[in-house]
Each structure stands twice: as structure tokens, then as C-alpha cells.
């Protein structure tokens, strides 16, 4: 059974000479982040259990022999921590150089995924040039014809974020690590195509990958378009969970979706529908003009005034012949609330009846 919540215990420690308060159970990294002290990370994702693989987040603790990974080390009362000493900086640089050497130099387009710029931004910030170690690249691109997820293992730095998000967040265990060291590569179970694995194509691995080794293939179709993309916060149009999303658009085109990490219902998660099924919006089958049925029994394109007049005329005629109750309104559970509100007002204010329903019964 889950235990009742305990009272919060707070204590203080010293971070870069500042005294800071923390709650028992917080890691040094979490305390630093709250104190607005920037510590670089690569294998860290706030939604996942700390992992301690990349060692980029190391800090010095006074009295300790070696630097420790701040993302896995719990804060202790009275602890004195330095996050930016020369030794620490040097260590981080070396690590980044090592990582950079494993990765081919390439501009990773931000359309690949939410976190895809993390590594490149760190390299830039620490002024690290790729190529110093001339190391062997780990893994090769996997041939997988699925239309959603690119797997480009030349860029993989073995941070395990994709594996962990799949196991911890999704509970799907669709991807695992194969081999070790430079040979290691992230792959679906037994190196099969994702389609044959337990993968549900929720896209979580893509969005957490800090290098673009995993990419959103649908969004990447728009890479060639030069403009920057714009992000617009909205809500997934499918089920009632109401996951928040950012719509990615270039000029007038909707090009992709990314999860909102702070969406109250989803906290960064999405499913295949919310992540990948957005392009009905600008599909060629969309109705672009009003239609009315002509003498010939077929629907014809007309202008708005003609269509609206005809729509209103029909209701007028039915009201005259059969009375107010003969007119019925069906509102949509898919359209925004304003549609349902105006629909019920149309029926109630227009005809004085309650002949209105929505499609929840079907």
C-alpha cells in the first residue's frame, strides 16, 4: 500500500557561496535549478528517474574526494557545493569533446524534436569543436520504413533518455540498448522494426532525445522550407484527456506537433493521435466553399451569402409549415465550446424549444 504523505522536512546547504533551502529528497541538481544556477546536463529529463550516465552535471562537494553527479546526489544538510570550479569546467569540456567526437558534425534541424538542440547548444556554449578524438561513430542508421520516427544512430550518445522515457513514462519497454561502448546502439527489442515491437508511436523518445538521433519524420518533411517555425499552444483535437500541444507552423503551413511539457493533463506526454495525426487540417479533401443542392440534385459551390440565405430560408419554411418543434439542432463534441453555445442559443432563442442535443449518445 502507498503510505500517507509525510510532513515536508526542509534544511539548508551552501551552493556557490549562497545559503539555500531545500526539501528533503531533492538532488543537488534540483536545488541548483531552483536557485537559478545553471548546471549542464545531457542524460537528465525532469520527468525521469535520475540516471547519472553522462557525468556532465558533476559538481564539487567540500570534504568529498571526487566530484559527484549532481542529478543523482541527494542534498544533505550543511553540504557545501561548488558548481563552477575550474576543475569541474575542465572535466565538462573534456566530456563534451569526447561526446562531440563520436558525433558527425551536422546541423540538426529543430524540427527533429523538442530536445533535439540540447547537445549542439552545449557544444556551442562551451565552445567545443567536434572531431578532437576522431572516435569511431557508434551505431549506424537503422533501416525502418515507418513514417513517424527517424532512427539515425550516428548521433546517438547513449544517454538512455529514449529507453527510460519508454520504460518509465510509457511503460511500453519497446526500445532497449544493444551491445556496449562504441558498438552500442539504441534499438527496438531484438533489432526489429518498430512496427513489430511493442512501440505505440507515441513519439516520447523522439521528443526527449537531446541530439536528434531520433527524429520526427513528419515534421522533418518541412525541413527544406527555410523559415523558422512558430509555436502555438493549443490542445490535442482527439480524445477527452485534453493533452496540451504546441502546433509547429511555417508561414501558413502546419508542419508538426510537439507536446507541451507543462500541459496539466499530459505533462509532456502524447499518444500517436496527438503526436502524428494532425495533417487532416490542411488536407486537400477539406471543404473550401459552401455548397448547396441544385435543381439537378447535386451539390454546387456557391458564395457564403447564397448558402446562408438558403440555410435560413429552409428553416423559415419548416417553421411556418410545421412549427418551432420541427427544427432540431445537433451540436458537436469536437468543435470548440463556442460552437455548442451558439447552437443551443440558436435553437432556444430562435425557436423557443429545447430541441437540441450533442453527439455524446453515439
Amino acid at each position: 500500500m502507498i503510505t500517507e504523505s509525510k510532513p515536508v522536512v526542509t534544511a539548508t546547504m551552501t551552493l556557490d557561496g549562497r545559503e539555500v533551502t531545500y526539501t528533503e529528497g531533492e538532488t543537488i541538481y534540483e536545488v541548483a535549478r531552483r536557485a537559478n544556477i545553471e548546471v549542464p546536463t545531457l542524460c537528465y529529463d525532469p520527468r525521469l528517474e535520475p540516471f547519472g550516465a553522462c557525468r556532465l552535471c558533476i559538481v564539487e562537494v567540500e570534504g568529498g574526494r571526487n566530484p559527484v553527479a549532481s542529478c543523482t546526489t541527494p542534498a544533505v544538510a550543511g553540504m557545501v557545493v561548488h558548481t563552477q570550479t575550474e576543475a569541474v569546467e575542465k572535466h565538462r569540456r573534456t566530456l563534451l569533446e569526447l561526446v562531440a567526437s563520436e558525433n558527425p558534425e551536422e546541423n540538426i534541424n529543430p524540427l527533429r524534436g523538442y530536445a533535439s538542440q540540447e547537445l549542439n547548444q552545449l557544444l556551442e556554449k562551451h565552445d567545443v569543436q567536434p572531431g578532437r578524438f576522431q572516435g569511431k561513430h557508434s551505431g549506424t542508421s537503422n533501416k525502418d520504413d515507418n513514417p513517424f520516427i527517424l532512427r539515425d544512430y550516428n548521433h546517438c550518445i547513449s544517454c538512455y533518455r529514449c529507453v527510460r522515457v519508454c520504460a518509465e513514462q510509457e511503460g511500453d519497454h519497446a526500445i532497449t540498448m544493444m551491445n556496449r561502448g562504441f558498438e552500442k546502439q539504441i534499438t527496438a527489442e531484438f533489432d526489429i522494426r518498430l512496427k513489430e515491437s511493442a512501440c505505440t508511436f507515441c513519439g516520447q523518445c523522439v521528443q526527449t532525445c537531446p541530439t536528434g538521433a531520433l527524429g520526427d519524420r513528419k515534421a522533418m518533411r518541412a525541413e527544406a522550407q527555410k523559415e523558422d517555425f512558430k509555436k502555438t499552444r493549443s490542445v490535442c483535437p482527439y480524445c477527452g484527456v485534453g493533452c496540451q500541444v504546441d502546433l509547429l507552423s511555417k508561414e501558413d503551413r502546419l508542419v508538426g506537433i510537439q507536446p507541451a511539457m507543462d500541459g496539466p493533463a499530459n505533462e509532456g506526454a502524447l499518444c500517436i493521435k496527438g503526436q502524428f495525426a494532425f495533417d487532416f487540417v490542411q488536407h486537400e479533401d477539406r471543404l473550401s466553399k459552401p455548397l448547396v443542392r441544385g435543381e439537378d440534385g447535386k451539390l454546387h459551390e456557391v458564395d457564403w451569402d447564397t448558402a446562408l440565405d438558403r440555410a435560413a430560408e429552409g428553416f423559415k419554411k419548416v417553421r411556418q409549415q410545421h412549427g418551432n418543434h420541427a427544427i432540431y439542432g445537433v451540436a458537436s463534441g469536437r468543435a470548440p465550446s463556442e460552437a455548442s453555445y451558439t447552437m443551443q442559443k440558436f435553437i432556444r432563442a430562435g425557436f423557443g424549444t429545447n430541441q437540441i442535443d450533442n453527439c455524446s449518445r453515439a
Binding site: 490542445v235 477527452g240 428553416f315 432563442a349
Partner: protein
């Protein structure tokens, strides 16, 4: 939902019934997976061995349509073994004694006979649910799409009331809404019995209020439901305005539905595609799609959130509220001078008690779950904390009823319908999203491998599925998810119009169709 989604990893016992959550509400299901990891017990009741069943500590493979029997049996065990929450029953509910006496007749053995379950599993479920500190119930259409849908829901309420598993964190009765804004449509008053904010149309005070607001006498009678309206087409209903619903494919008994809409004198459809329903219309009006317009939607936990425009409308498409307002103005109905979605939403807030503390700007950050009765109210993540909506919780004395049609010689197999992860509803949207076909190119009928041989079917071959209303040809797929004697498919594909078969009956109260149960015959095609 009585409780917020964020509560889903807090219960000690989670009881999922009639919900294929991993496919229909996948992101909510991830929270259940996390609860399990934290040590919560999961009970799953579903006729099909859905993936949630594979995660369960206790799986109850009940016969389709026998939910009430299971729930009565559980209530019996809880009462018999003294696991009721006496103080909750005394302080917060009515008719408790009558209910406890009522359930004495429904032994687990009785429930087992009807549901096909093992009586000791029913006992186990009852014990776990009642004894935990926090137990929560989650359900979806597997509970409501039955002739006894209301009985099912009330049976679940009975369980929560007798154990006091409601009104606290990590408890509650939590229906998961299927469509992104079905909650918002009800909130906005698009129902025959309520004005916006669930103010009853039969309440004289509310009638007076809306008479003032809308400037005309209000009908003191409820309207008829959509299901009745479809039956009345050509009789008492002669014109319809349908917004964004593909009635022909999504509703039961498709041929009846087609005939109904065709018999109207005037049909106006607002949609983003020329759906099978729009094709029947006299006037089709193109609406803006998601991503092309601003608006509000309300999720399953009553959270009021903003939808925002990212790209310009396709062609000449217009927002739904604009289109309806234009028709209203042409009929000289006053009060439709809206200039933006914001105008419309703010009017809704001004006359709905549950939104009274909200307006367009306040919901910018999506932090409110209704009711929000006044400005600077924090919203209500958990319902029924100190009091139920109407004061006290009322037990209902339910009896089990058979489905409208049961299997017999001619129709010996249970068909149950539902949804799939990759397809949404009638696929007007997912069917047009690039790549989805890669995963789900067509519909198929899931048949238990043992039944395959017995019915002379081959995996990947075709079968004819026949009910009292018609026949549908469908590809066959061998699947251990289907129990013996029960087959499953979704209604998402227009070329496999499964809703030709369904429609055997309706819940007498809500008139929701019994889509979950339909006796059929399965023959090689």
C-alpha cells in the same frame, strides 16, 4: 471525472471497467502504469483481454452486458463482510439501509452465473476495492453504451457510496470522455434537458432567467434526444442543423439513419469535410478546423482550456460560431452580434453558474477545473468533497437486466464494438493523416483462435457478419484478445459499416444505443 487526472497515480486500488484505456485514452493510461509501479493494485473488468487486462492484478473477463450483475455481487460481498463505511453512509447518503438490504439477494454465485466469472474473483475484487484506503473507479463507453447504461453507472456510484471512496484524493468515479470537447458541449447547454451550466429547463427559475436573457418565452418541456429526433425525422422533425458530426457512420443502425436524414425537408450540415452525412445535406457550410481558429474546450477532468489559431483557415472556411450566428441573424433572432470567440465564451460564462468565475482571459493558463462559482475561486479539482451536488448521495436499488438481444440459435455469437489506438471515430481525421495507414490499413474482426476452426474461418480471410439488421463483410484476424464466442471490431472504417448491425436497443433514460452488445452470426465469406 470526479477527480483530476493527476490523481490517477494516487489510489491504492484502481478499478477499471469497460475502458480500453491504453487505446482510447493512452496518456491517461500512462498514469495508471505509474500507479502500478508504485504498488497500486489494478482490477480490470472487460470482456476482451485488452492490454490493460495484461497489467492487472485481477482480471475479470465478464460476459458482454453483465456489468450490473458483477457490481451487485461486489456490493453484496462488501455488505456481507462488514466492509461498508458506516459513518460515510450515515453522514452523507440516503437510502443506505434499503440498499444494504436490497443487495442481500445478489450472492457472488448468482453474479457468477450471469457474468461467467469465478465467484471467488468477485469476492476478491470486492475485498480489494472496499478495504483500500483509497480506491478509484475509471470507466468509459463500455459502461454507458448499453440498454442498462444508467444502471451500470449507478451501480458504480453505489459501490463508491457504500465504501466512501469519493470526495477525496485518489478516489472517485471517473468517466473518461471520448471526444475532445464532449464535456464542453454539455456544459454549454447543447442538451435537451439543460440550459448552459446544467440549469434544468424544467426549473421555473431557470426558465425565467433565460426568458429574460434570450428575450422570448422558454419551452417548459425538455426537448427530445438526438436518437428520438432521428426516429421522428419526416414525422415531427422536418429540419436539422448538424454541426461536425458524421451521424451516418457513427450512429447505430445505419440504414435507419440514412432513411431518417433523407426524409427531412431541410438539412444543413457544418463540417470540415464532405462526410457521408454532409453528402445528404441541402446546404453544406465549411467550418474552420482545429488549428485554424480560437476557442475553448473542456477535458474529461473539467479543465477549461484554450484552443489557439496557428494557421489561416482553409479556403473560405469560417468558425462554427460565426456560421450559426449568420443563420440566426437571417432569421432575425436577436443576440447574435458576436465578433469573436471571446465574445461568445464570455457570454457563456456570464450565464453559467459553473463558469461564473471564469472569462476568456482567466483561462489563458488552463489552471481551472469547474465549478468556478466566483472570481478568485481556485476551481474544483475534486468534486463532492464535503457535499454532493444535490446534498446527499442517493443509493439506487438496481436489478440486473439482459441486453436488448441475447445470443440464440440464429445469432449465436456476441459482437462488441469499440475503437482502436490509431483511428479516431469515423476516421474523417485520422484517415487523412499521412502514415496512419502504415499501422492500421483496414478494419478486421478479432476472433478467438479456437473459434476460427470451429466456424470454418481462416486468419486473414473474410467473414460475413450478420445481425437482425443486416450483413457486413469483414477480414478475419485471429486474436487471443477475444474470448470464446465473442468477436470484436471497430466502427471506424466506412467500407466496413459495422453500425449496419448494431442498434438493438437503447437505454430508456439516456437513449444511448447499445453499441457494446449485438448478437451475430459469423460465416465464411
Amino acid at each position: 471525472m470526479s477527480n483530476p487526472l493527476a490523481d490517477m497515480d494516487k489510489p491504492d486500488v484502481i478499478f477499471c471497467i469497460g475502458t480500453n484505456m491504453t487505446e482510447c485514452h493512452p496518456v491517461a493510461a500512462t498514469r495508471i502504469k505509474q500507479a502500478i509501479k508504485r504498488g497500486a493494485k489494478l482490477i480490470v473488468a472487460d470482456p476482451r483481454k485488452i492490454s490493460l487486462a495484461n497489467m492487472a492484478n485481477l482480471y475479470l473477463p465478464l460476459r458482454v452486458g453483465s456489468d450490473v450483475a458483477l457490481l451487485l455481487g461486489m456490493a453484496h460481498v462488501i455488505a456481507r463482510d462488514g466492509l461498508v463505511n458506516r459513518s460515510f453512509i450515515n453522514d452523507r447518503t440516503d437510502k443506505g439501509e434499503a440498499f444494504l438490504e436490497h443487495v442481500q439477494q445478489f450472492t457472488p454465485q448468482w453474479a457468477a452465473k450471469i457474468s461467467g466469472l469465478n465467484p471467488c474473483d468477485i469476492e476478491q475484487a470486492a475485498h480489494w476495492y472496499a478495504q483500500a484506503e483509497r480506491s478509484a473507479i475509471y470507466y468509459t463507453l463500455g459502461i454507458t453504451e448499453h440498454i442498462c447504461g444508467v444502471d451500470n453507472v449507478q451501480s458504480l456510484c453505489n459501490l463508491a457510496l457504500m465504501t466512501g471512496h469519493i470526495g477525496r484524493e485518489g478516489t472517485g468515479i471517473n468517466p473518461m470522455r471520448g471526444q475532445n470537447n464532449i464535456q464542453g458541449a454539455g456544459d454549454a447547454g447543447a442538451v435537451p434537458a439543460n440550459y448552459p451550466g446544467f440549469q434544468p429547463v424544467t426549473d421555473p427559475l431557470s426558465q425565467e432567467k433565460f426568458k429574460q436573457l434570450y428575450g422570448r418565452e422558454m419551452d417548459p418541456e425538455k426537448g427530445i434526444t438526438k436518437v428520438s429526433a432521428l426516429n421522428e425525422c419526416g414525422k415531427s422533425i422536418h429540419a436539422m442543423l448538424i454541426d461536425g458530426e458524421n451521424t451516418v457512420v457513427s450512429d447505430p443502425d445505419r440504414s435507419h439513419c440514412l432513411r431518417s436524414l433523407e426524409s427531412l425537408e431541410h438539412l444543413v450540415v457544418i463540417d470540415i469535410f464532405l462526410t457521408e452525412t454532409a453528402e445528404l445535406a441541402d446546404v453544406v457550410l465549411p467550418a474552420t478546423a482545429w488549428g485554424e481558429t480560437d476557442g475553448v474546450c473542456v477535458n474529461t477532468e473539467r479543465r477549461v482550456q484554450r484552443l489557439r489559431q496557428a494557421v489561416p483557415p482553409h479556403g473560405e472556411a469560417k468558425p462554427d460560431w460565426w456560421i450559426i450566428s449568420q443563420i440566426a441573424q437571417r432569421l432575425a433572432v436577436p443576440g447574435f452580434e458576436f465578433e469573436s470567440a471571446k465574445d461568445v465564451f464570455n457570454e457563456l460564462c456570464s450565464l453559467s453558474p459553473i463558469y461564473a468565475g471564469l472569462d476568456w482571459d482567466r483561462i489563458e493558463k488552463a489552471e481551472y477545473q469547474w465549478p468556478v462559482p466566483e472570481k478568485d475561486h481556485p476551481g474544483t479539482p475534486i468534486l463532492h468533497v464535503d457535499e454532493f451536488k444535490n446534498g446527499r448521495g442517493l443509493f439506487s436499488l438496481i436489478h440486473y437486466r439482459d441486453p436488448a438481444e441475447v445470443v440464440d440459435e440464429n445469432y449465436p455469437v456476441w459482437l462488441t464494438t469499440g475503437r482502436r489506438l490509431e483511428a479516431y471515430h469515423t476516421r474523417t481525421q485520422t484517415g487523412r493523416a499521412a502514415g496512419i495507414d502504415y499501422l492500421l490499413p483496414e478494419e478486421s474482426l478479432e476472433v478467438n483462435p479456437e473459434n476460427l476452426a470451429e466456424w470454418n474461418l481462416t486468419d486473414g480471410g473474410y467473414a460475413n457478419l450478420t445481425s437482425r439488421r443486416g450483413t457486413v463483410k469483414i477480414r478475419v484476424k485471429s486474436s487471443g484478445r477475444s474470448p470464446l464466442g465473442t468477436v470484436f471490431c471497430s466502427f471506424s472504417f466506412n467500407d466496413v459499416p459495422v453500425n449496419i448491425l448494431t442498434g438493438s436497443g437503447y437505454d430508456p433514460v439516456t437513449e444511448t444505443a447499445e453499441l457494446k452488445v449485438c448478437p451475430v452470426r459469423v460465416e465464411p465469406a
